[in-house]
């Protein structure tokens, strides 16, 4: 008997149509990633909303890895516990993989593993991979790769996938490599033909063509951030490789080679430098920002920890810079290939002394793109480090998304004085708050005219950028920096509000969004609990954030960390509402599920 709630699955006479989960257990480095993406892409191309999550180890080759694909006609994208089709390709984990699935699961496995002896409540499909591989591919050294495509073919046949779409997905994935395309298309066909003749019939899981993904793209958040930076006119990038952020810069390098090349000389108009560590990367960002470049780095928590001294310098000397943190599970090296929202407080207050940073929290692929783009405007407008706080789930997983809208309009380069403007100013001081908004007038090194030079420093300084140890001048500086931070409320993305207007609120941010959306439906449909939902998208918090908390009796703050870091920040800024907020937390290193949220909210209310 299935115990899943009705809304979670579309059951048509015992068949789950366009609504089930697949998990593929393989060995890292076996080339299964391509096969899994082909499987996911095929479902996407058939118009069925789908999401894919790679649960990979911190290892190049040999350790187990799992790929989860969720097809859902309603468009729910969050991870879902409970697997309907398990494909066991890893002998080492096969026993555990069989043990963890629920009754009724369809299990495709390699015949010699004899997994059907382990349980009698599953639907088994034993595939003679060795025989099929040998027939499909004469070259032994390619067998490992071809084997993966065979399970794709078997699954395609059993789930009713359109083979033309499977082949198109292979061609897309292998982009122009005709020999590989032919080989892989042959392998899926072999798997398909075998299944048509030999596999047991199954009617429980089925993909039927739909039209819900028309015009959409499949992208990961790191690529989206790279595009955001490229269109924002980034000119200096300094980085040090670290999972899960590396692909953001690597993808930017690929794009820059094509789209940021000076047509006349063939030279690049962006400098991308792999530094010796994250300290140096942050130093370059600060130095380049000071000298007027649109500068950025991408890293993860351990990198941010190393960068923190320089980030404090950027904050205090007021140098723009964009810091992309693709968060992974800490503390320490933690679980480098698993997701987390554990750097929220680290980024908000990075560095010693009183610091507060503008942080953007993208929750969708479009926001990864837009917010990275916008981060450069904010950094230059407010002359300060700006964080884009992403995570592994957003950054490295594949997401279906609407195509991105072109960011129209001019860059905001902030209050930068040129030679002519400097001439007109009598008593210029780099850190004089002439506009009363905490944001001072800036000059760039190299500006001619003999006016405008100043001495940036991380030490105490007065409005004229001169060294100062005077208490009143120091106080004025740090208070102005706080004022500047609060001024930024006018420019950061507002939170998004949805809901019928009830007394029960949910507040979340970033990659928790899909799970929250699904959890709200479950709460309404199965537990008669309506909720309002506010998705926070930036620090400093705007008035709308406070208004939401103030107008709800209880606000469940959903986050993927142990300590409720966003709640802590909210309580700091809105102490009068501290007790309304309840922490709903998920931090076992997997991506959050809707069920977790439902269960915790129910527990609070029972």
């Amino acid at each position: 008997m299935l115990t899943q709630p009705a809304t979670m699955e579309a059951v048509d006479g015992g068949t789950l149509v366009n609504d089930f989960s697949i998990e593929v257990a393989t060995v890292n480095g076996s080339g299964s990633q391509t096969a899994n993406i082909v499987l996911m892409r095929t479902i996407f191309q058939m118009g069925v909303p789908v999401s894919g999550k790679n649960l990979f180890p911190s290892n190049i080759s040999g350790l187990p890895t799992w790929f989860q694909i969720r097809a859902n006609h309603k468009g729910y994208k969050a991870r879902k516990a409970g697997i309907d089709l398990m494909i066991c390709m890893n002998p080492e984990t096969a026993k555990d993989d069989v043990a963890k699935v629920r009754p009724g699961t369809l299990l495709i496995y390699d015949e010699p593993l004899k997994l059907d002896a382990l349980r009698n409540d599953l639907a088994f499909c034993a595939v003679p991979f060795q025989k099929l591989v040998a027939a499909a591919c004469p070259e032994p050294k390619l067998h490992k790769l071809v084997k993966n495509m065979i399970y794709v073919g078997v699954a395609a046949q059993m789930l009713g996938l359109d083979m033309d779409e499977v082949k198109a997905a292979i061609a897309k994935q292998l982009d122009g490599k005709q020999k590989a395309i032919d080989l892989n298309q042959g392998a899926v066909q072999a798997g398909h033909d075998w299944a048509a003749a030999e596999a047991p019939r199954q009617t429980r899981l089925k993909i039927v063509r739909d039209d819900k993904t028309k015009g959409q793209i499949i992208i990961d958040g790191n690529t989206a951030c790279a595009l955001g930076a490229m269109f924002a006119g980034v000119t200096v990038v300094a980085w040090y490789p670290i999972t899960p952020s590396s692909s953001a810069v690597e993808s930017l390098i690929d794009y820059a080679k094509v789209y940021r090349k000076d047509p006349a000389t063939g030279k690049l108009n962006v400098a991308i430098v792999q530094m010796e560590d994250e300290i140096a990367s942050a130093g370059v960002v600060v130095g380049a920002g000071w000298a007027g470049a649109r500068a950025m780095t991408a890293t993860s928590g351990p990198g941010i920890s190393l960068m923190s001294e320089f980030i404090g310098l950027g904050y205090f000397a007021e140098c723009p810079g964009v810091f992309l943190d693709v968060t992974r599970m800490g503390p320490s090296t933690g679980l480098p290939t698993r997701t987390s929202q554990g750097d929220v407080e680290l980024c908000a207050k990075c560095s010693h002394g009183d610091t507060l940073h503008i942080c953007l929290y993208p929750g969708t692929m479009e926001e990864c793109f837009q917010f990275t783009y916008q981060a450069f405007d904010l950094a230059e407008r407010y002359q300060t480090p700006v964080f884009v706080v992403s995570d592994l789930d957003l950054g490295m997983q594949n997401w279906a998304s609407q195509p991105f809208a072109y960011p129209e309009g001019a860059f905001d380069r902030g209050k930068v004085l040129d030679e002519a403007q400097l001439k007109d100013i009598q008593d210029w001081g780099r850190y004089k708050d002439v506009d009363g908004d905490g944001v001072c007038l800036r000059t760039l090194p190299g500006t001619p005219g003999g006016k405008g030079a100043y001495f940036a420093r991380g030490t105490g300084h007065n409005p004229y950028a001169l060294y100062s140890e005077k208490p009143d001048e120091f106080l004025a500086t740090v208070d102005r920096l706080k004022k500047k931070f609060l001024t930024a409320r006018a420019s950061v993305p507002e939170p998004l509000l949805t809901g019928p207007g009830v007394q029960r609120g949910i507040l979340a941010y970033g990659s928790s969004d899909p799970a929250v959306a699904e959890a709200r439906d479950l709460l309404t449909e199965l537990h008669a609990k309506d909720t309002d939902y506010l998705r926070v998208r930036a620090l400093p918090f705007t008035d709308a954030v406070e208004a939401f908390i103030a107008s709800h009796d209880v606000v469940y703050v959903v986050e993927q960390n142990r300590d409720g870091q966003m709640t802590n920040l909210l309580r700091e800024f809105f102490p009068q509402h501290a007790t309304r907020m309840k922490k709903v937390l998920h931090y076992d290193s997997t991506a959050i599920t809707a069920q977790t949220i439902v269960d915790q909210i129910n527990a609070f209310e029972n």
Binding site: Y255, D262, L268, V273, G287, W290, A291, P403, G446, L466
Partner: protein
């Protein structure tokens, strides 16, 4: 009142135009003597102050950019990591002339990694390492350049092998490596001018006694010991780029190296023959001198024409920071193309 004619340089600036704020270092500190030579060299080399970036880390030595060229852009950054700030500034604006002041603590301990990698990337900068063998600003602890057997004021003896910034830089392929002594202003001034005429990283290790914490007789970096053990390698001559007339080099042991900006550097070797273009010979000579308890000063190694930072980044000749939006923001058709590829 008649105004005495104050000498000006080729761009009409007086030497006064190159000074900075009044020094707050201890009277007699070697670092102040270096500052004076920086001012002199910048004036003689006609540096346009608005094009100069003065960078530093943290330490007494790192305070010195405040004391020269107040019309230039300064950045007193974090301890040991001015190299990265300088790299960033150079990437943002390649027309800047970078002068970086650092100390032996700043460069040889906390900032060692950054100095090493800055040299590898050949970042255009005159890197002045004001070397006193101690941490002046934190009140006199040993630094990594302290010689074995050298003592602190209260008697502690250094037992650990020092790091020599110059042989290290040569090992890394630095194209301009020099050592001088703050008590030898003439030589230091010439070296600074030559360094300003150089195109990549120019490292100058200047023995610069800390009169407060490391000037006692049992310190190898005291004024007295430095004077006694300094061994100038060459008599240096410098013909600036703007001196069009041919300067005749007298026959004899002199050799000449042309610098990228058109200036010329001449060497008249003192004593045994020494060829600063031979990196391996130079490293050997420096090591051997050190074993004898001497330190060689002068231009230890020079090699022009190496690729610099901007060659490695393959970036355009223009200043990246001020490129117009039109050239750095691809159009809607590019985004549409990127989206199509992802469909």
């Amino acid at each position: 009142m008649t105004t005495a004619t104050v000498p000006t340089n080729k761009i009409g600036l007086t030497k006064q135009d190159y000074v900075g704020a009044k020094s707050t270092l201890c009277p007699g500190c070697g670092h102040d003597a270096i500052t004076s030579q920086i001012i002199q060299a910048a004036w003689e080399m006609n540096l346009e102050p608005h094009r100069v970036a003065k960078l530093s880390g943290i330490g007494c030595s790192s305070k010195t950019p405040t004391y020269f060229m107040s019309q230039a852009w300064g950045f007193n950054s974090v301890h040991g990591r001015a190299a990265a700030v300088c790299t960033g500034a150079a990437l943002a604006n390649r027309s800047l002339i970078n002068i970086l002041a650092s100390g032996d603590g700043d460069s040889m301990s906390i900032g060692m990694g950054q100095l090493v990698h800055m040299i590898r990337r050949n970042v255009p900068v005159v890197y002045i390492l004001e070397d006193n063998g101690v941490y002046g600003l934190t009140k006199g602890q040993f630094s990594a350049t302290a010689d074995v057997g050298s003592t602190l004021k209260h008697g502690d003896v250094n037992e650990i092998t020092p790091i020599d910034p110059c042989t290290l830089a040569m090992e890394l392929g630095c194209g301009f490596v020099a050592r001088s002594f703050s008590g030898n202003p003439k030589q230091l001034g010439t070296i600074l001018k030559a360094a300003l005429a150089f195109e990549g990283t120019a490292l100058i290790d200047v023995i610069s006694p800390c009169v407060t914490f490391n000037n006692h007789d049992s310190s190898t970096k005291s004024y007295k010991n430095a004077k006694d053990h300094e061994m100038p390698l060459q008599e240096l001559g410098f013909v600036p780029y703007y001196d069009a007339e041919e300067v005749e080099i007298e026959p004899g042991a002199a050799m000449e190296v042309g610098l990228p900006d058109g200036s010329r550097l001449t060497f008249r070797t003192i004593g045994k023959g020494f060829d600063p273009t031979d990196r391996y010979a130079a490293m050997k000579a420096v090591h051997e001198a050190h074993d004898r308890g001497e330190f060689l000063t002068g231009i230890l190694h020079i090699a022009t024409g190496k690729p610099i930072l901007h060659d490695f980044t393959h970036t355009v000749d223009d200043v990246l920071a001020t490129l117009p939006q039109a050239s750095v923001k691809p159009g809607p058709e590019v985004l549409a193309e990127c989206m199509r590829e992802l469909m």
